[in-house]
Amino acid sequence: MTRTSAEIVVDVQDVHREFRLGGEIVRALQGITLQVGRGEFVSIMGPSGSGKTTLFNMIGGLDVPTRGSVTLLGHPLGALPSHIVARLRCRKIGYIFQSYNLIPVLTALDNVALPSLLLGRPQAEARNRAGAQLDRVGLGDRLDHRPDELSGGQQQRVAIARAFVNEPAVILADEPTGNLDLKTGEEIIRMLSVMSKEDNVTIISTTHDHKMLSVSDRVVWVVGGRIDRVVNREDLQIQVGSIT
């Protein structure tokens, strides 16, 4: 086993992405290189339209680069057939969305069990795992509630449980606090940070939220489809201090 390759979970090499919008070519990403290690908490910041969501989708194998490569756990995503990418996503990537994206017709327990079922685990085991994760996020007493019976913060906690249920290597969180109030947002961020440390899971999160910076190991600013600057945690404290 090569230890070095196991340590790097996500390897983005010189990724370009061009869209054709009408007659014009929009360069959403213009050569992004980024490596993220196991257990790291990385925040991607940037104004809207900066390309951070595109980058985020590339890492999840939801979009394919025009040029360059994205490697997840040693597998170049562009070279894999789409059903294998789907399985890789199911097994190794957890998703958290800004608007929770729970399946409205399923209970909290069934929502969290879904990725496990997709992995082919037996129903009973999937539900056990789901129950355990919901306990972790403090919703052990809300198993049979449907999403519309839960508050925003609770829905996002269900989504967190769902993201962790398959013991993924990476969790991709797209503006996870974007729809939440200040206090709930803080709770969600703290929960994500604690759970990722416990499970040694890499978290990559796009955000506008400055609260997110305090728990990040690294913050990557993306501007105009390029990495503008990268700030490590130790330097971050001073910076945040100077901002506020």
């Binding site: 939801l62 597998h75 789907a86 399985r87 998703y95 399946i103 409205p104 990725p115 129903q123």
Partner: protein
């Protein structure tokens, strides 16, 4: 728990991400219940089409059997109802045409309802694909949903069709209607009608299911609520 890329790839090629049938049924059932009004309208169109199909099949069969009875009493009854026995025995083209139209309308109705269901569920499908659902799983989900309407609608349609057939037959031919209906021929028509109902629903759902499964998750997630 770290595995080498080779081990991971072996695991990925070995097993697929398939939802157990029970979960698929649960999702399909929930999908129908959430859109109850539309599901019922679609169901009704299936019921009517299949009722018509099974009614015309069984009642034509009855007339043929009565015509073959060689009983003067029955001939008198047949003549009294004004049924063109000869045409019925040969197969009435107008009847066939009406049955075909009913089935076609029903298929189009199913396709339309399922397409709406796909559009409404863009986000849900996208989320499932993000979680790692394969295209086949999404196709199955929509086919099951449609087959559930098809199955339930066909059963109800058959019941309605048979009921009308028996009541109308009894009114026209009295006890002969029951005497000359054989269980075997009724079962044949009923089986055919059920099969037709389910198959038509699957055909109607085929295109919408394909649309749903081919959708890329990014596009699905871009849809705002």
């Amino acid at each position: 728990m770290t595995e080498t890329p080779q081990e991971l790839m072996a695991a990925l090629t070995a097993e697929g991400a398939h939802l157990p049938t029970k979960t698929l049924f649960q999702l399909a059932w929930a999908g129908l219940r959430v859109r109850l009004a539309r599901s019922l309208v679609t169901l009704l169109s299936v019921v009517l089409a299949i009722a018509y199909l099974s009614y015309s099949g069984v009642s034509n069969d009855l007339v043929q059997r009565l015509a073959a009875s060689k009983s003067d009493e029955i001939y008198t009854l047949l003549r009294a109802t004004g049924i063109d026995v000869e045409a019925t025995v040969k197969g009435n083209p107008l009847d066939r045409w009406l049955v075909a139209m009913a089935l076609l309308t029903c298929t189009v109705g199913i396709a339309n309802a399922m397409l709406m269901s796909v559009t409404e569920r863009f986000r849900e499908i996208g989320t499932m694909k993000c979680l790692g659902a394969e295209n086949g799983t999404v196709v199955k989900l929509f086919l099951i949903e449609s087959a559930m309407i098809g199955g339930a609608g066909s059963l109800m349609g058959i019941l309605v069709g048979l009921l009308i057939c028996v009541v109308a037959g009894a009114a026209q031919f009295g006890r002969y209607a029951i005497e000359y209906l054989t269980l075997r021929s009724v079962m044949t028509y009923v089986g055919f009608a059920f099969l037709a109902g389910v198959v038509l629903c699957l055909i109607g759902a085929g295109y919408p299911a394909l649309v749903a499964s081919r959708m890329r998750p990014v596009e699905a997630l871009r849809v705002e609520e």
